[in-house]
Symmetry: C2
Subunit: 537 residues, 2 copies
């Protein structure tokens, strides 16, 4: 069963190895364990629903609790403290486009707010209800989770928009295909959510971002049905698909998604190299993508992330051997780990491996084979469980991500890291900060920063400390040439920073889209742009 107050399946958990605990304690001091509210206690707080009865809408407390919060650190602290904030007044689980249209009509008649809900994995507050007076109906798309059609000539698969990652892949695999979209939230997040929030998967170098995978589909809006035909490319005016991508619920509920799929590749392995320093490693990463070497993934950890990962991995003996081996080759303190995915036909795989070895060698890269890389791939969806392991030791962990052009990567990474590292110094607190680059493009890359700090005296103090860190880092990002999000979306948490990036006219264009299909402003309140700003343009 899915955890009601955290990530993933209740049956699964990670624990921190001793070496990891020592490492953190050394860096940022001991953790502070805080309590966890019970589901029963939270359910007891849920107020009566303001919704009139409807046969398809569930208004029981537990269903409403389970749809009230996403997966940001602020959500986590709300769930663990029991101080939830607003709950949706009810949750519907439609099984067809017809039912979605009926729910939209009901929402209009009863003057409701609507929150579209995919996997509930937002880390930016997308699915959290806000109280603006209207009752809130959350529409959970999770029952529309089937592969409906596969066109093998055109390599297009049609899915219900509520299909989560594992059900996408398990329905395609027996037919010999993959979508290849593997965000960190893969276990729970859905196709419709990926489209609505412009998601990117770990192997975007081969398969593309969701923008490249999303070929068309259906959106049920308050003004009617928007159908996006599949066309491989077009110059027939602005692309309406691109208006749906990143719309975060403002245009309607995505009910059907057509995606570009790929036959499962003959060969796939993940390789690891170490570089002697950041400068050489970052240049090698840039050159690999700019040379168009056929990789499916590139992830480059900076020196602190490399050190942290090796410490948290456990297995100190094997790590010691690895470090001795690297030392012989001049790769020691300050080393940076690069993980590369290679996916393709046998011929493409071999050609790319040869090309990448030649290129990385000239930047001091030491190739260590596929053992560490394949281990990473095996465990790549378990990372979100780490928050619970750290919480149990008394630490809070969060991530921030952006993207910028190559000529700005170092500046922006250092600015973000130092802002976080020093962000609680006036409260006498240290913050452990580390970063990797991933999702590399010829123009630039994403910057993904993780930060860990010991919990405060109570949940609310911890939340306030998190808010200070998040706010100061977010301001640095948008004022230093970064996007407020490369893959997590805007939601409510990033909305205050969006106008810096888009400008007043850009925001007016974006708001105009919502006004056209949702003239009553019924959908996704305060997501993407704040309610109070809506009238101002």
């Amino acid at each position: 069963m899915r955890r009601w107050n955290g990530w993933g399946d209740e049956q699964f958990s990670l624990s921190l190895p001793d070496s990891g605990q020592d490492f953190l304690s050394d860096r940022i001091g001991p953790g502070r364990q805080l309590g966890n509210a019970t589901l029963e206690a939270v359910c007891d707080q849920v107020p009566a629903s303001r919704l009139p009865e409807h046969p398809a809408i569930h208004t029981d407390a537990e269903t409403r609790v389970r749809h009230a919060r996403g997966q940001s650190l602020e959500d986590w602290l709300a769930m663990r403290s029991g101080d939830f904030g607003p709950f949706p007044d009810g949750v519907a689980f439609p099984e067809s486009g017809d039912m979605v249209r009926e729910l939209l009509a009901f929402a209009k008649d009863e003057d409701l707010h609507i929150i579209p809900y995919g996997g509930g994995t937002s880390v930016a507050g997308h699915i959290n209800p806000v109280d603006h007076g209207r009752p809130v109906l959350t529409i959970d798309m999770g029952r529309m989770n089937r592969l409906l059609d596969l066109d093998e000539d055109s390599q297009i698969a049609t899915f219900g928009a509520g299909t989560p990652g594992p059900l996408v892949e398990s329905q395609l695999k027996p037919l010999g295909y993959t979508l290849g979209h593997f965000p960190q939230s893969f276990e729970l997040s859905t196709l419709g959510g990926w489209v609505a929030s412009r998601s990117s998967g770990q192997q975007s170098l081969r398969y593309g971002r969701i923008e490249q995978l999303f070929a068309g589909g259906t959106v049920e809006s308050p003004e009617g049905t928007l159908t996006l035909p599949t066309i491989p490319a077009s110059s027939a005016g602005p692309d309406v698909r691109e208006m749906v991508l990143g719309s975060e619920g403002h245009l309607g509920l995505i009910t059907e998604v057509k995606v570009r799929v790929t036959p499962i590749a003959e060969r796939e392995q993940f390789h690891v190299l170490f570089f002697p320093d950041w400068e050489q490693a970052r240049t090698a990463a840039r050159r690999l993508v700019q040379q168009k070497i056929q990789l499916s993934m590139l992830r480059l950890s900076n020196a602190t992330e490399t050190e942290t990962q090796l410490a948290l991995a456990g297995h100190p003996k094997q790590i010691g051997l690895l470090e001795t081996f690297l030392g012989w080759r001049g790769v020691a303190d300050g080393k940076c780990m690069m993980t590369l995915g290679l996916t393709g036909s046998k011929a493409q795989y071999s050609a790319a491996l040869k090309q990448l070895k030649a290129l990385t060698k000239s930047y001091g890269g030491v190739y260590t084979g596929t053992y560490l890389g394949n281990k990473w791939a095996e465990k790549r969806f378990t990372m979100p469980y780490l928050r619970e392991a750290l919480w149990d030791e008394g630490y809070a962990v969060d991530t921030l991500e952006t993207a910028t052009d190559w000529n700005n990567v170092d500046h922006l990474m250092h600015t973000i890291e130092s802002t976080l590292r020093d962000g609680l110094a006036d409260e006498g607190k240290r913050v452990h900060v580390f970063t990797h680059l991933s999702h590399v493009y010829s123009q630039g890359c994403s910057i993904y920063t993780t930060y860990v700090f010991a919990n405060g005296d109570d949940h609310d103090t911890t939340r306030r400390q998190w808010q200070r860190l998040k706010q100061s880092a977010s301001e640095q990002i948008v004022h230093n040439g970064g996007t407020i999000s490369h893959q997590h979306g805007v939601g409510k948490d990033h909305a205050p920073y969006l106008p810096v990036e888009k400008g007043a006219l850009g925001m007016a264009l974006i708001r105009g889209l919502g006004r056209t299909l949702d003239p009553d402003q019924r959908l996704s309140p305060d997501t993407l742009y704040a309610w109070n700003d809506k009238e101002s343009s």
Copy 2:
């Protein structure tokens, strides 16, 4: 000097070889030569300008004639007959964003219509003035044609939006870079025009369409300046870049364009193969792109295009030898020619050549080396001159293009071809029709159809016959799963068909963008959507 009544440079012309004339005469009967109006006679018709004087605006007759028509067949017939229709009231040639802003303010004060003008190469009526009462000011961006900045780390070049193809490449080449965007109109069309109309270049397989190349820039709108920052990828809401792409002037004048450039490749050659029949050739094309073999271009002529190209090439002796050679290998009547571009590092080039030879062999492909392909590449920008060569022999030529998914390619191609071939049968006229596929994607490809017919008794009869063909084929395209344009844009000629493709809600979203930045509906009247429709949504 640029031709005032047709394509390209006055110093350059093509002529049809005897074998080509015989071929056409055999297929569609003899041509009929029609007269050509003189520039002097056309200038004499130009009415007085309705514009108040402005130091930056030219109102002389010749400048207005030279900005009144694009390059569609209807434009050609207008220019050759002298029956031009509306002229712009004046033409401005701004040299900076400041001047553009000043012109926008002037247009507001004087209640003008504005037509943004790049290279004037539209084949869909984008830049043709229409008379809705307001005086028309055409803004020719041609003087903003400089490379302003090159960021070599991020591989981003900043250009004035009026930079035409040759000046893009000639300013990048000494620095070791290429944009790699080569539409058929390359000699005259401009960066801003490519962005505004979502253009695609012949080597889009390597470099991408303009959507992939356009990284950001500046648009001067009636509501102010819209700045698009360069960010490699983002999930921060809908992408405003994508609203500018294909906006066809409705959001403002694009003044500065930042594009993703690529170091000039070590190696590039164009290879030609012949296939025994269409079915095998089309399957090979699909498989080549779906297998992600690193090609820079793929163009596949159907049997009639192959035959026509070989007939029009002249050199019957060499063609005879080629056909003998192909015959020995079982490739004879019904053969289809495929041209493949290979571009990359030496290692990538060799790997791709090996992979493509292996794949095409299993579909009966016969590899004939690089001679024909490199000839094609050398002459690829001279094709538009062929209209004049055919006109001189009494024939009218036009092209139609669309794109569709692979599972619909044959159906749509045959529908378009038969519609055109039989389109004038009731007037006792034959139409010669042939097609190639290009711009291949894993999902589908573009379909590019050329049609030739003998001129009618006079210019106006010819125009009416063209209109019948264009209209019936366009209807077939949008009602059979094609886009109304893969690379030419919408303009005025395709506007009536756009709502079939986009749907009522899609059109409402697109019109909403224009309403946001151009509330007085001053820009690009009747382009993208018809004036009369504007108020209706």
